[in-house]
Symmetry: C2
Subunit: 407 residues, 2 copies
Amino acid sequence: MNILSERMSNLKPSVIREIFKHMADPEVISFAAGSPSSDAFPSEKIADITAEILRNESNVALQYSVSEGYPPLREWLKLRLTEKGIFTARKDAPDDVLITSGAQQAIEIITKLICNEGETVVCENPSFIGSLNSFRSYNANLVGVEMDDEGINLEKLESAFKSNPRTAFLYLIPNFQNPTGKTMSLKRRKDVLALCDKYKILIVEDDPYGELRFLGADIPSIKQLDVESDLGRVVYVGSFSKTLAPGLRVGFMCGVAPLLQKATVCIQASTVHTSILPQMVVHRFVTQNNFNQHIKKLQLLYKSKAKLMLDTLQFNMPLSIDFIEPEGGLFIWGTLPGSWDGLDAAMMMMFCRKALDNKVAIVPGNAFSPDERVPNLSFRLNFSYPSDDEIQKGVEILSKVAKTMFK
Amino acid sequence: MNILSERMSNLKPSVIREIFKHMADPEVISFAAGSPSSDAFPSEKIADITAEILRNESNVALQYSVSEGYPPLREWLKLRLTEKGIFTARKDAPDDVLITSGAQQAIEIITKLICNEGETVVCENPSFIGSLNSFRSYNANLVGVEMDDEGINLEKLESAFKSNPRTAFLYLIPNFQNPTGKTMSLKRRKDVLALCDKYKILIVEDDPYGELRFLGADIPSIKQLDVESDLGRVVYVGSFSKTLAPGLRVGFMCGVAPLLQKATVCIQASTVHTSILPQMVVHRFVTQNNFNQHIKKLQLLYKSKAKLMLDTLQFNMPLSIDFIEPEGGLFIWGTLPGSWDGLDAAMMMMFCRKALDNKVAIVPGNAFSPDERVPNLSFRLNFSYPSDDEIQKGVEILSKVAKTMFK
């Protein structure tokens, strides 16, 4: 269709959403999605809260609202993010908070706001496919930078900034990164921030999993470390999708007020505002319940699921396949032994295909690559959505497939 | 802030949303918004439906869903739009339906999908400010075409197409247009479609008020008339904001499947999907209740409110001020006598300002102008949101203000 805009030329359906179609088959065990556990939804409380809202405040819940988001939820978020050191009442550039229809809308709106067509977005390689597609949908030039054990590689990041003077922003997922599960060290966060200060590059810090740490100690967010720059170098993006329920589509962004005023105009011109009933449900849940206790329960649930998956992988999988142990989040990243020069991509796709033929869905690593043509030896496993039985059974099937292919 | 993208340069906050801020004053009578009557919300039924959904299907309502929209709601829409002749199972280019977060998101996504930066969007002058801002947010060149009593002027439309060869699409609101309340005649719809066929221009037909006809007979939509073109020249956009509740943010678009597949990818990269609980609420409401009867009630309510406002205007306002009697929708368009060459814009703004000083909010006509700098002698009044008492009192105040300024 030649009527399409140029920016659409780079945009293809997400591989994950395509794999979703196979998952209509109830026999398929899915390690492919990024969905939280349905067991973790506080369904009864949400039902009670919703009934109360529609009994007492139906006109608020059903009528048009403001584009910035439901005011009491924004106020609660400001308090919570202040406690965490993320929301800053900087004198010259105080922060603000906006509610979005999921963190994904926040990412899309920031891209629309800041990135001209053809400008560069630098990100970790691999990175979250949904965000990559947001960047692609504005015809951004995607530049992925390799990661090491501490996060995005600093030298390669600097050379990416040097070779891409028209860089709109740096996109990072410092906690339990999607897809690798890696967490950026404190030192690396500081170094990355200093580098961005030097090159005057805005950082978009995506933190959907930050609350879901089940091992180790919390590390300050980059936004929190950004106390010296007057500008406010970091826009912090969060979500209730993993901590409460993704179907509600309630996320948020926190950054300097003038930028967020412009973002509000973008929201007006897109969804007008996030559906108000879900925003009220989130607000009532976080204020009427012990939200920290709820988070704690999620952490324990995911800790046990991650451990089960890792233990089962280590017991069954060929030793040549490497897995990264995450300290939180939803994902385990596996890497096949790479010894078939040129055949790597084909082997990876064959592994995923054979797994799906045996009713286990996983996502091949190149789906997360800023340049999808680059072959990739890794794959992503999700442990939050499948049941414990499915984790065991699915990993056993996957291991059998792997053993037919790798030592 | 110099970090902003070029496309943001043309985008300012909607005048209406700015007027909203004054409306925090409970003494202000608002004729400014485009909100439906809160009395019209079937709140109790929505409360019952929602409780049932969260009791029986909370995992569906709270988990991630597909970007195309809640499948049962899409199926219902296909049936309803088939009955109306809008959904077409054309052999070569069958239609599809997508759910969006309000009609506004549909407009924004179509713009993203089709309009390159700098390309032209042709529309009625005046037109809906929210859509104009969507177009501006992609740096579109807005070309407004004057309307006469039958709708957009055909000769001027053709000359707009001729002088703007890089036209991405024509945007129209044929029924009870926002802001003028005008309805495009059947002949004009046919002629506009033929003209667009000749110039190979896509039509985006926005029909948020189509169900709210309270006078005269229904006129086929342009989408419905588009039976001959193989391509499918029209994308039809609708909403449940006026027929059920705007806070839910559930709208839809109907057009040829290949185009809507691309739109689905845009939704993936933006909101992922429309909040699922509101989609399920809409689906249960339209299938478990007599939706047509509900619509009939709304039509009677708005007929009586429109009549009350028009009668009160005609009784109190200076005779020199013209009002257009709408056959449906939410708005009455007034025009001041134009006899102060060069002072028109100043007089209009003074009239709106004096009205607001006297606690009545109205929207000046130039807010709806594709070129906001052009002075405009008109203003928009909304009759759906204020109570009957407010309509009477507000019009009386407005009339006093008018009498101090005009004969």
